[in-house]
Symmetry: C2
Subunit: 251 residues, 2 copies
Amino acid sequence: MKYMSLLKNYKAVVSYDGGRYRGYQSQTKEENTIQGKLESVLSKMCGEKVDVAGSGRTDAGVHAKGQVISFALKSTMHTTEMRDYCNHYLPEDIVILSVEEAAKRFHARLSAEEKIYSYHIVNGDIPPLFQRKYVTYIKEPLDLIAMEKMAKALSGTHDYQAFSSAKKSNKSTIKTVHITVERKEDEIEMVFRGDGFLYHMVRILTGTILEAGMGKRTLSGTDAIFTAKDRSKAGYLVPPEGLFLDKVIYD
Amino acid sequence: MKYMSLLKNYKAVVSYDGGRYRGYQSQTKEENTIQGKLESVLSKMCGEKVDVAGSGRTDAGVHAKGQVISFALKSTMHTTEMRDYCNHYLPEDIVILSVEEAAKRFHARLSAEEKIYSYHIVNGDIPPLFQRKYVTYIKEPLDLIAMEKMAKALSGTHDYQAFSSAKKSNKSTIKTVHITVERKEDEIEMVFRGDGFLYHMVRILTGTILEAGMGKRTLSGTDAIFTAKDRSKAGYLVPPEGLFLDKVIYD
């Protein structure tokens, strides 16, 4: 029982540049993943194998400003010491923003209520330079009004199966999502807040909204995408580098 | 005479990520430089060798938001066409922001009146992530008031020879420079506006101001640095990646 009392549960907020990773997590342990790097540094820190749970996977090349992880370990270190230790040993493209003790039952994925993703586009004559690894560049003019309307039409509680690259499974594909589009000079940001996202869902929703902005798609077909549940009716899959997991919301 | 009338002079504003270059310009033509890339794409564009003059050199690893170049060439292309052509063929870490026809006597270096550089620091417990290639990270607390005072003491019209890595030459080392320091949360920006800068001068001035912020240097020795003209009395040379050439000012 003494052993059990030493094991504490932690919640940490993690930011990363997904550019050179195979994603937050991958099927085989050997691959280069964010989770792998985090488990390796935490295991080094406390001298035994630590398992890290993320709020969800992010795909290869996708970034995070506020990914949340949970893990249990035995340590007498203060949480800011833990954060500084990890940041010292983590590669420069992964940074732990905060570590805090969490309730025993807290689990980064199972306890998550909502997630916020954002997709970043530079749209104009001048290609992006210093942000070029974190945006998608579209030179041709985009109709923001059409994009806003499409974002609204794709928001709500729907069966989002058509907006997923995953094979059909028994898991529910009904999600509640709210999408906004904002333009500041040459930068367009789309924000997706929802209670769950299917595989590739944010990137396919973004592609669908962009097709509206390019005049390649009208609102009238939107209901048919939902009802047909057919991936081929939805828009294209935008590249990963413009996508950020901004925040995970808990109770 | 017809030939002469076709040759037009141009001014262009260029932005670049200096991270993988040997600097704006280097001694030997074979090296990887910004000027080399620009000359190569402009020569390709108009089918004959184009010489490009920059407002000044930036060192290896130093970035530019607003480097100015001038060049003369024969072309019937519109200036926005030229810009788009160059941006299409330039590597993704060099972007031409604008091209305009300039007076025949305009020369990017000889006509320049003033330049503005900025140096960017992240100062706090959390290392920088998405800006990590464009800032210098200093974890230890910095005394902003001491830095502001040092910036003021180093501003003015002085012989800045002690703040240069260049060997003594016949060129004047008297310059007029105005330095400001500003902090926004964890980000510190120093801005240097002056009528000329010696080799490494901005980076040595930055190092001197930082040493004041770290409590390693007081204001009392400042006059002695100027009068001794001795490099060893000034501060350390900060790394290039936090430095940007922001703007070149012409009449």
